[in-house]
Subunit: 204 residues, 2 copies
């Protein structure tokens, strides 16, 4: 049995941000590790027939309010970004590059990079769709700028993200965050408590 919690998310997803901040504590409590899976919701929405929450009449205003209220509920800072939603290709590529890097000093920074990218976008108001913001944020964690810049243009890294998106679709991931534990799927920041209870009970 896998001892990870697979955490699928798009950096442009507010509930992904809130969930990412909270999942590590749940994982720690159950002696699990978090396996970060950044994906691109835009590509997935094409398959699943969906669209960003804020593009729907009636639902859009509620969504923006609920992002903020949900953040307050879990006592996390949240400032709704001026550019929203955004393309998160550079940030997502960076995570896949770091996560599978042969250099363990880079590899071990994967989780910190996830949190730093989310913070740049949802707390510090930076436009994470801009690759230079991604590189600058990563460099503050000790990632070499020119190394990362090269990686972001590397076909192997580009293909890795595409494969990751296809793998997610294979696993019926349709939203963010989506968590898979021992084959069981949980969708949404608001399902983390259920996931926690599910692990506590050891299933049903």
């Amino acid at each position: 049995m896998s001892q990870t919690i697979e955490f699928y998310f798009d950096f442009s997803s507010p509930y992904g941000y809130l969930g990412a901040q909270r999942i590590q504590a749940v994982a720690d409590q159950h002696q699990r590790s978090v396996d970060w899976h950044p994906i691109l919701l835009g590509a997935i929405f094409k398959v699943s027939g969906q669209a960003p929450l804020t593009t729907f009449p009636l639902k859009g205003d509620y969504a923006i309010m609920d992002f903020q209220r949900s953040a307050r509920e879990v006592e996390l800072p949240y400032s709704h970004p001026k550019q929203f939603p955004i393309a998160t290709v550079a940030a997502a590529r960076t995570i896949w590059w770091a996560k599978e890097h042969e250099d363990s000093t880079i590899n071990q920074k994967t989780g910190d990079l996830v949190q730093a990218f989310f913070k740049a976008y949802y707390v510090d108001g930076k436009n994470l769709s801009d690759a230079s913001v991604v590189v600058e944020t990563a460099s503050k964690l000790g990632i070499d700028q020119s190394n990362l810049e090269a990686a972001l243009q590397d076909d192997v890294v580009k293909t890795r993200l595409k494969t990751a998106v296809n793998d997610a679709i294979e696993k019926k991931v349709f939203g963010s965050p989506m968590m898979i534990v021992d084959g069981e799927s949980f969708w949404g920041n608001d399902r983390i408590e259920q996931l926690d209870r599910w692990l506590t009970r050891g299933g049903w």
Copy 2:
């Protein structure tokens, strides 16, 4: 300030069923009453550009699983209906007819009718889209069959439901259940705990 919790729902909504079973306890705790607002999601989806959860690729199977898991989580029986989703016009009309009836013995049965209709559909496996199932279920609560049969064909009752759907759209109701308390909206069975805390805090 209104002392009600407005509870908007479609009888064909599993989360509406789960929420309806739980909202009264929250209302009681905060000395509120529940104001039942049955609506037709089909009409609202036309305005909001949405569609039933189970019609989406990838998302559909998860939705059916999550209905059942969510029911287990709150310890309520749930049997996913063979016919799903269904048209709930007859059930919704009955609630509006009862809720605003001048005869208080009918009027006071509104909440019980809501629960009985949900139970017929989600526990007893009856096809609630069938007006005869609605009338039969209501009759077990002492509602006169021929009275209700006549009401379901009454233009005043038909118009009342249409007005209720339009009022809901005015208030930006786009899903089920959606609860409005003192102007604050909460969408989903999974927001009832937040609503409860919101009332406890007296707002933000």
